[in-house]
């Protein structure tokens, strides 16, 4: 019996997911009214800015500790929207960065927002600050700013770690309305416990589509939903198939070899395993094998020509 080895399937699924996104972006370009469900955290943005305007206190935005990545770019997109609203009402803003690259991009985005609104005179170069790239120095600096300036609203969006609760609780102590969202799953519970509104999971990535309703962004969101449907389908099929296969007797068992290789051998050759269980183990099920290709000893046994030895050619060595 030939062992099923399909190392290409992970690449295929990734390309399929990317294809869903690109197809829906092109599809959405002609559409005007694609539905996006209500996200309370994003509806609260305008209320929070309005509150800050009424109180005459600043809005503080923090894109987290992460470097310049998809997460921080997404956070800066939302901050661009917040700044646009704040600029219209002359509400002061503070954007605190922990990464120099994020700081540079943030500065450009905020300045461009003021420029696009025709309010460049209201732009304060010190409103975007690099505080520190050290976690707790950054936490201390931003917390100090929240306390001293008595922020009316804080937006904590990005990659957060242990400092998340320090920000959230400090802002809560000055009565700031808080909108938070993190892709770091360990911090989301802290935000849920301490903040008024939280963007959970992929709501964070849906934010710019929700706020701007541009066809490219909305189409991308629909593509993500198609991807989710595919993942749900694979999970369901995998669960059913896996549950069924785990009850079946194993003819071949997966045996690990030296150097990361593995082989499928008849169970009759492995008495210990047969005594333990005659049913298939997880790594012998079809679904596991589909996404975890097996490297056989033959695949590792490759003969290649060697580069010419430069020292020997030059007459070196002892």
């Amino acid at each position: 019996m030939q062992y099923l080895d399909t190392g290409w399937i992970s690449v295929f699924v990734t390309l399929l997911l990317a294809g869903f996104v690109l197809f829906n972006i092109s599809r959405a370009k002609g559409e005007k009214s694609l539905f996006i469900r209500r996200i309370p955290g994003l509806n609260a943005l305008d209320d929070a800015i309005g509150r800050a305007t009424e109180m005459g206190r600043p809005v503080i935005m923090v894109p987290g500790l992460g470097g310049l990545s998809a997460v921080s770019v997404q956070a800066l997109n939302v901050f661009g929207h917040v700044t646009r609203k704040a600029a219209q009402f002359s509400t002061p803003i503070r954007l605190c960065c922990a990464d120099a690259a994020v700081y540079t991009v943030a500065q450009e985005i905020i300045k461009d927002v003021y420029q696009s609104q025709g309010m460049l005179d209201r732009y304060d170069a010190n409103s975007v600050q690099f505080v520190s790239d050290r976690q707790f120095a950054f936490a201390a600096g931003v917390s100090g700013m929240i306390l001293r300036e008595k922020a009316a609203a804080t937006f904590l969006l990005g990659e957060f770690f242990a400092e998340s609760l320090i920000f959230a609780e400090t802002a809560n102590s000055v009565g700031a309305i808080q909108v938070a969202g993190s892709t770091t799953q360990t911090q989301t519970p802290f935000f849920i416990a301490a903040c008024d509104y939280v963007l959970i999971g992929d709501e964070f990535y849906a934010a710019s589509a929700y706020l701007r309703r541009e066809p490219v962004l909305v189409g991308s969101l629909v593509g993500q939903d198609w991807g989710k449907a595919l993942v749900i389908f694979i999970v369901l099929i995998g669960a059913l198939l896996g549950s069924f296969e785990r009850t079946q007797p194993a003819d071949l068992v997966r045996v690990r070899k030296d150097g990361g290789a593995a082989a499928m051998e008849p169970i009759s050759q492995h008495e210990d395993r047969a005594k333990r269980t005659s049913k298939k183990l997880v790594d012998e099920t079809t679904m596991f094998r589909l996404f975890n290709p097996m490297v056989s000893e033959e695949m590792l046994d490759i003969k290649r020509d060697k580069k010419p030895n430069e020292e020997a050619a030059a007459g070196g060595g002892e």
Partner: protein
């Protein structure tokens, strides 16, 4: 494919030069000047002219990593191996070039760190000169920054270049700069970091107090599950409870009541509710990151500027 073999085995362009060689220094100086010129040009270029340059750079960088992901990887490769065919030739080149390519990010980050320091100096020197509110804290920050840089640099130079025998490992051989750096880094900075970190315990308490107030069905479920998690970590509760269950079941492992042990309930919560929920969130976040990455790579993401 054999006719492509000489091409596959051709030496790719050298991305590194011998240590301290004139070629290396020439390459460093030329790269520095070119990078500096490009940065200055980008700084003064209008936004519309900047965008295609940045998009081209982003696309080429992204294309390299897409190729790295999609191209078949060499199996069991030794350093002195020659590729067997054109496909392996490309895969060898990609894997050789990747560390150099990734390191170029560090060079760009180094340029940007200068801008970060400039931001800190501008904010705090302005506050100091204009005697704005809390200007004293700015003095403390600037003094601390300069002192740390000076002591850190002297300590680094001494350890890296003037201590070939490793004498500075022993404290008795330290000079004033080493003591100063130790005091600043281990004696102050690390301790203040730890102090900030420890404050989280109190913040957790106050946040939990608010979150666990039973005001809705969700909050009640949250409090109930949290209570089980807490009790399962308290031996004084968990052990007598488990003993009581064992007493009823007579330590029969197949008895249904074994599921009522706190540690079992906790395990069920974690493996059946918590882990699948987190995985579902991770799938969503992963798909979001993929879509965002595609939009940035292909120049479809206009960002906050639009």
């Amino acid at each position: 494919m054999n006719f492509l073999l000489p091409l596959a085995q051709a030496e790719p362009p050298a991305f590194s030069q011998p240590h301290n060689s004139p070629q290396l220094w020439t390459a460093i100086i030329i790269t520095f000047l070119v990078s500096f010129a490009v940065l200055i040009a980008l700084l003064f270029a209008p936004t519309k002219a900047r965008r295609p340059v940045i998009w081209t750079g982003t696309f080429l960088s992204g294309a390299f990593y897409v190729l790295l992901f999609l191209w078949p990887k060499p199996i069991n490769r030794a350093d002195d191996d020659l590729p067997r065919n054109a496909v392996e030739g490309v895969s060898f080149w990609i894997s050789d070039f990747q560390p150099t390519f990734a390191a170029s990010t560090n060079v760009i980050a180094a340029f940007l760190l200068g801008l970060g320091i400039y931001s800190v100096l501008r904010v705090h020197i302005t506050r100091l000169l204009k005697r704005q509110k809390d200007w004293v804290f700015s003095v403390v920050l600037l003094t601390a920054m300069v002192t740390m840089v000076v002591f850190g640099y002297i300590d680094y130079v001494q350890r890296e270049f003037h201590d070939k025998e490793g004498k500075l490992v022993e404290m008795v051989n330290w000079g004033p700069a080493n003591y100063g750096f130790d005091l600043l880094f281990d004696g102050l900075l690390q301790q203040m970091d730890a102090a900030m970190f420890s404050m989280i315990a109190f913040f957790i308490l106050s946040a939990a107090f608010r979150a666990f107030r039973v005001r809705s069905v969700e909050a009640t479920v949250l409090m109930g599950s949290a209570l089980i998690m807490i009790l399962s970590l308290m031996g004084a509760i968990d052990v007598p409870w488990s003993n009581m269950v064992d007493g009823i079941t007579g330590k029969d492992p197949s008895h249904f009541l074994n599921n009522m042990k706190i540690s079992e309930v906790k395990g069920w919560f974690q493996s059946t509710l918590q882990v699948p929920s987190l995985r579902a969130l991770e799938f969503g976040v992963g798909l979001g990151a993929l879509a965002m990455g595609l939009r940035i790579w292909l120049g479809l993401e206009k960002g906050g500027v639009s």
